[in-house]
């Protein structure tokens, strides 16, 4: 037992380590408590049950994806440029996670499948960021769509091949960057109301 106070963040660090070792289905709160050398009652003071701990781990993991994207959404530059960079950043962040540590990515993907509420909130947050960029483009007159939220949803759906983990096996295909660029051009053209470059 260390003298450091047992914060929620330290519990999540330990839970990540244990998940990595045992996988989502075999990890128990007792395993996490053992890794921290505390009683499982101590964990339950921070997270009332295993599902709450699992959701908190998934939430922190997804926040690492959405935080840098939030920065792009909050910028003030041209909306088309920000939209492009936002979509690239999302696709590249996912791709880097898969390539850097495929096993950990698979673990988190399995975890996220169980934490549907957390994933749904994450997707809504991402679509909210996209909607703000599109709204800025509408205000500046470079996007001619009328419903920023609906357009954001469509942009998110239309680029799914490049950011949804179910397609990660194709993210190293030779044509993937070109395919992404084609879809991006299509999306930008539709938002602007002009033909694709």
């Amino acid at each position: 037992m260390t003298d450091e106070p047992l914060t929620a963040d330290r519990i999540l660090d330990a839970a990540e380590e244990v998940l990595r070792r045992f996988g989502p289905s075999k990890t128990t709160v007792v395993d996490v408590a053992r890794a921290l050398d505390v009683s499982h009652g101590t964990i339950y003071r921070h997270f009332p049950n295993k599902a709450a701990l699992r959701d908190a781990v998934a939430e922190r993991w997804l926040a690492r994806v959405s935080a840098p994207l939030e920065a792009i959404a909050a910028e003030k530059g041209p909306a088309d440029d920000r939209l492009r960079r936002w979509l690239q950043a999302l696709a590249w962040a996912k791709r880097r996670k898969v390539l850097d540590d495929p096993e950990l990515f698979a673990t988190y993907h399995a975890l996220a499948e169980q934490a549907r509420g957390v994933v749904d909130a994450h997707v809504e947050a991402l679509i909210g960021q996209l909607a703000r960029i599109i709204q800025d483009g509408m205000a500046a007159g470079i996007f001619t769509v009328t419903d920023a939220r609906a357009a954001a949803r469509a942009v998110f759906d239309a680029t799914m091949r490049f950011h949804h983990p179910a397609h990660s096996a194709q993210w190293q295909d030779p044509g993937i960057d070109e395919a992404f660029e084609e879809v991006l051009q299509m999306v930008l053209a539709a938002l602007a109301g002009r033909h694709p470059d």
Copy 2:
């Protein structure tokens, strides 16, 4: 043993039945031969090995998806209307397969994952159909894109959420039809070079 001649089609019928019962990983050529009451050597005269039989089953299954779409691609009506009907037909065919018999769909999905060459050829054929529709729209002046093949690829990728089996768990979500319509509008707008309706 029946008196019917043993055609490739009858072997494929039997292979489908056996696959349905045992799943792709447990099905052997011997199982298929047993179901037909012939020796496995008889099967090998039509399909040189298990992979060839597996690929032929996958190919016939995928042909049932692409044949009705081919009919839409070959029509002569307005290209935007045909593009909409083609994409709807693809999405609905996949959705019907999942809802009618989820277990069989999962079996074929697993089978297709092993028959990558067959799946790639199927996707290329579908993109070829889309390209012909887009080409017609370009000739008629309603689509302003310049590269029909690249546009077809982008349309296929952008609608992946609605036809790729990896997303089948979401095909019964209440918002799915609206989401499809939004992406369809975006695609049509981009092809036409105007803002989405």
